[in-house]
């Protein structure tokens, strides 16, 4: 099972035969399903998996950019990058909270991330080799994430939709700061320009893969659409992203590494070359450049933070005990 932002795809499609009437009525009326409503088990399981994998993507996504915080070229860029990475942590937390409304525990979801039972977006298994990569991630990766996430603001499950509204509001600065980094580099020295072009060359195709496999190879999509979780097909969203991005690349003065990109008057869209999905599936299987590094870093960070969680628990316990003792003295005094 693998997932990209707000997308769920894999070999085993969840379907359900026994759907409560109240649930069907809600969907038919474009209503929102709320946590305590009756819902089919398969709908609940699909949402838990998708929201959890979305949450995991947000927090793993902190790593490639976090890699450049200490080496940002100016204080301004450093402050911006810290704010962006902090936002991604926030997105993860909004999403874990949304998943928990379905009756799961965040700690269990993290366990499943750490032992590999649940995945995160494969885009974060690519390395950030230069400062320009931070720009390319903001512009292309956050850009693709926005295209995926905006329709999820109308997702049939209320808490997921509301989390997405918050996330989307915050994403637009992410994309702009990335664009600005690339714009500055592409109008700088020849070396800076080359660095920007190289980053775009490496991030373009993986960004297109973020939308998932082509529609005819996307077994879960039909059920997700019937449930109102997914609103547009993978290929439609990918096309939307290409149409948005090509003119922006022109404004940057950078080329996208696809000679087949050209405006198709008839379709009213840009044509583009075929995405190599064997690469996507290889990365999902764990053979991307940074899979092992991302996971070991994540697990280490979690283990290194154990003492802080324990200390907070101990402090809370001690305070509660003190409070109880005070209470006791007061009641005894009154008697």
């Amino acid at each position: 099972m693998a997932s990209v932002y707000g997308n769920d795809f894999g070999a085993r499609a969840e379907t359900s035969s026994d759907e409560p009437q109240s649930f069907l009525d809600l969907l038919a009326g474009e209503g929102r399903v709320e946590p305590r409503d009756e819902m089919p088990d398969a709908y609940r399981r699909t949402l838990v998996r998708q929201i959890a994998q979305h949450a995991h993507s947000e927090i793993i996504g902190m790593q490639p950019e976090g890699n450049w915080i200490s080496r940002a070229p100016s204080l301004r860029r450093k402050a911006i990058l810290m704010a962006k990475v902090q936002d991604e942590a926030g997105h993860g937390l909004y999403l874990y909270a949304a998943a928990e409304t379905l009756g799961v525990d965040r700690a269990d979801l993290l366990d499943q991330l750490h032992d590999g039972r649940q995945k995160y977006s494969s885009i974060f298994n690519y390395p950030t080799l230069t400062w320009a990569d931070v720009g390319a991630i903001g512009w292309l990766v956050d850009g693709a994430a926005i295209v995926n996430q905006v329709p999820l603001c109308r997702c049939s499950y209320g808490p997921y939709a509301r989390a997405m509204v918050r996330v989307c509001k915050e994403e637009s600065f992410h994309q702009r700061q990335g664009f600005e980094i690339l714009h500055t580099l592409s109008h700088g020295t020849p070396a800076q320009r080359a660095m920007a072009q190289d980053a775009v060359d490496r991030y373009w195709w993986p960004s297109l893969m973020m939308f998932g496999p082509p529609d005819d190879d996307s077994p879960n999509s039909a059920q997700s659409m019937a449930w109102g979780i997914k609103r547009f097909s993978n290929d439609d969203l990918r096309q939307r992203f290409v149409d948005m991005t090509v003119p922006q690349a022109e404004a940057l003065g950078l080329t996208l590494p696809d000679p087949e990109i050209r405006w198709n008057e008839e379709r009213g869209h840009y044509d583009f070359g075929e995405v190599d999905f064997t690469e996507l599936f290889e990365v999902i299987k764990g053979h991307g450049p940074c899979n092992a590094q991302r996971m070991s870093h994540r697990v280490r960070a979690h283990e290194d933070g154990a003492w802080a969680r324990e200390a907070a628990s101990a402090y809370a316990q001690k305070q509660a005990q003190k409070q109880a003792e005070k209470q006791l003295v007061r009641t005894e005094g009154a008697a």
Binding site: S22, E34, D87, G90, L93, A97, A107, R166, A312, S313
Partner: protein
């Protein structure tokens, strides 16, 4: 973390408005819940005041009793001003 309670977070976005539910978080105690809520839900000046409430303390109506629970209001259209006929020409009513 596993045993940290869940807190529901409410934000007053500006003076004159009510606190509105924005989401939830885990924290070991009320003070940490407030601090975490500030960092998580008000990073862009979204609020001037925060409430955190232990989720376990919230009493809620259930969706399946929903229809029956709220139906006393269904047949009382006369509670709305549009129910009444006002003669032509009468103003400020």
């Amino acid at each position: 973390m596993r045993e940290w309670p869940l807190w529901e977070v409410f934000v007053r976005s500006r003076r004159g408005l009510s606190h509105v539910h924005v989401g939830s978080l885990h924290a070991p105690d009320a003070e940490m819940a407030l601090r975490n809520a500030r960092d998580l839900y008000t990073r862009r000046q979204e609020g001037v005041s925060l409430w955190v409430v232990p989720a376990a303390e919230i009493v809620a109506s259930t969706p399946d009793q929903g229809a029956a629970f709220f139906d006393p209001a269904d047949d009382k259209v006369y509670r709305h001003p549009t129910f009444y006929d006002v003669p032509e020409g009468v103003e400020h009513l």
